[in-house]
Symmetry: C2
Subunit: 423 residues, 2 copies
């Protein structure tokens, strides 16, 4: 039996322990000697847990046991999780983690430590929950020149946007409901402001480029300003509003990365990704589009991803599972002002003429009236209960040009379009 330890018996950690027990037969198909959880580190007491005999409070019991080959770090945070991971890797113990904060902040350093000590630092569970996304990028698609990844990478915000769209409800109302249901944290900032998605698309960009993309360099906009009128406009354009992490490689090999709400065409394979599901569209020059969809969060799905890493580590004893992300200095990303796309724009109705003057051939959006949602009437003018607005889609232009022109209006609200030819 290959002996493993779990650091942190919280939601994910308890799921890992349960999965390794329940699916021992399946695991033995890949790792014939089997995998056993020998220790679980947690400062709390769990007198009723079936694993109470394996609980320890001192990490050194684990680190000093030469039988331990693999650690699952399911603690979270960047303090003790970092220290314990580093110490384990220095002893040649592979670490499998669901901690995207730590990966985004210290991934290259910890991978280098692993490589120096002939073990692995693996983090499938840090992006896309149960979707086998990182392993697909690293193995199944490692032959590809990947020129675009567009991902719905945060289940909380996708749930909120789905509910807002279906029920015609406001952001605040849906957020409260999501918090009551446990789908959103009491402090939802990391989710709704897009930081979680930014961390994940930074990790993806690092994997497909081989160089470190810092999440602090990813322009990031959340969903807090999305309102019902946005959904009415989206419906008129046969599109859905989705919070995306988007990474695009240009002809010079530079990467343009952004996290923001986007209009995704209804016929896109990302459009049916609803509720707490995550979905990722990967474009390679040979394979064309590949789409992966699954549960982006939750105890069991996340635990499943952690255990897929445990199996990978167990299959490669005494060696480092290869990873295309080689670390090194952070890679400069295409500045947001240079990123080019189209925008759906809402301005005061009185400034419709200015829109045509500034943007040239704009496409007015006459949002359909719906029972549940206030909407535009004919000619893109809003219904009487709303302030009079004029909505239009711009031609392709850079974010910098757009920002300059937008400054001319007395008020502007905009959402980006995923595809330039979608309307």
């Amino acid at each position: 039996m290959i002996k493993a330890a779990i650091l942190g018996y919280g939601t994910v950690g308890s799921g890992v322990a349960a999965l390794i027990d329940q699916n021992s037969a399946e695991i033995r198909r890949s790792v014939p000697e089997g995998i056993e959880v020998k220790y679980i580190l947690d400062l709390r007491d769990f007198p009723d847990s079936p694993y109470r005999d394996r609980m320890v409070k001192d990490v050194n019991v684990i680190l000093e046991d030469p039988e331990i080959k693999i650690i699952c770090e399911t603690m979270g945070g960047k303090g003790a999780a970092y220290q314990f991971s580093k110490a384990a890797l220095e002893k040649g113990i592979s670490v499998c983690t669901s901690n995207k904060e730590l990966v985004a902040a210290f991934g290259p350093e910890l991978m280098a430590t692993a490589a120096a000590h002939h073990c692995s630092y693996l983090f499938e569970a840090s992006v896309g929950g149960g979707i086998p996304l990182l392993r697909t990028l690293n193995t199944g698609l490692s032959q590809e020149n990947i020129t675009r990844v567009a991902g719905i990478l945060n289940g909380t915000t996708n749930y909120i946007l789905t509910k807002m769209n279906r029920d015609g409800a406001d952001f605040d109302t849906v957020l409260r409901r999501a918090q009551e249901l446990g789908y959103a944290e009491r402090n939802p900032e990391a989710d709704v402001e897009g930081h979680d998605t930014a961390r994940k698309i930074a990790i993806i960009t690092s994997l497909i480029s081989g160089r470190t993309a810092r999440y602090e360099d990813v322009p990031c906009e959340g969903i807090t300003k999305i309102d019902r009128m946005d959904f009415a406009c989206a419906a008129a354009l046969h599109a859905e509003v989705k919070l995306l992490g988007l990474c695009e490689k240009d002809g010079d090999g530079r990467y343009a990365v952004i996290t923001a709400p986007f209009l995704v065409p209804e016929e896109s394979l990302l459009a049916p990704v609803q509720d707490v599901f995550n979905g990722v569209l990967i474009h390679g020059t040979m394979v064309d589009d590949v789409v992966l969809i699954g549960r982006g969060a939750g105890r069991d799905a996340t635990a499943s991803a952690v255990v897929s890493d445990v199996i990978d580590a167990a299959r490669h004893p005494g060696e480092t599972v290869p990873c295309p992300w080689k670390g090194g200095d952070p890679m400069p990303l295409v500045p947001v002002a240079e990123q080019k796309r189209r925008f759906l724009v809402r301005v005061p109705a009185a400034e419709a003429g200015l829109a045509a003057q500034l943007f040239g051939a704009v496409r007015p959006v006459a949002a359909e009236s719906g029972a549940a949602r206030p909407a535009f009437g004919e000619n893109g003018k809003s219904q009487p209960e709303q302030k009079e607005e004029y909505a239009f889609v711009t031609p392709v232009l850079s974010e910098g040009e757009f920002a300059k022109k937008a400054g001319e209006f007395s008020s502007v609200h905009r959402i980006r379009l995923l595809d330039p030819d979608m309307v």
Copy 2:
């Protein structure tokens, strides 16, 4: 440089050569020493090919060159492809193939040969084209107890069904158009009769069970009898008609496998898989549903999958990439007569009473009238231009029971439902 050879310079083989050239930088991220195609075996002459200097007509040139570590078998068929693959593996040369016929027929034998000679027999490209499906089952989801795989695994038939649905056209008309466009073979039997899908779901079943599922044991029904009325009924039930390969594990660990047209609910993540795309829904007890979508065929997508195997083989020199499919005696599958599900049934209108008598609580289907398609009117009765039919959905029952009851009607047409609770 790791030296490889390609057997067969047809569509897929030429794609493999091109990909290894064009994406050499990407490949070096995974295989730092790089991969080079040293030989291409083909009996034809290609005087204008950029690879003309590497063309050989005698396989022994390849097999006797100790530099060759990997072969891509893109010949097809079960004759020379089998002999050459076997001979290569016996020399410790790994073989990567797109030849699903050969894998379905001789997969376990060739894998055993590979294991005995410390090399690998890999066949990602044999199922799902460019979708990294088999690698995901073998690695990313190897920790899962997979209880269901439902796949749209044949691009030709999915294209035909998509066109029939969109255009309200007949099977024969659409098939002819698909043949003109090169989407269907001149002899389309393997596709439209479901044999290709049956081979693929047999391979998938073997991988998730670890035991050989023979494709000859998979009950197989094609799409040649699907008519426009089926689409009208599907629309009334908010469903799509899809040719599926379906594998389900029951509580006793037995596998029920079938290839047939199914009604898939519109909200299923398989429903948006249109045209020549393939899509696979995998259900694991921990990860829940994971869906993979991509191009199931075509030169570049298939070549991409072959090269993903070449990289895997190159990363594991002198060893066998582990595969959960261990071969051995064929596994008995759940007989089709014992498989349980619901059915959409069309019988002569005069026999509506018999339907209620035989099946109990049936759900009549009042298909909506559409401009392009002849359809049922109210009460499930067909329009005057059609023969009068009564359409209904049965409760859950076994295929055996269904067949017995169906024999009581003067004529019966039926399609299976994917989910028992969909209507």
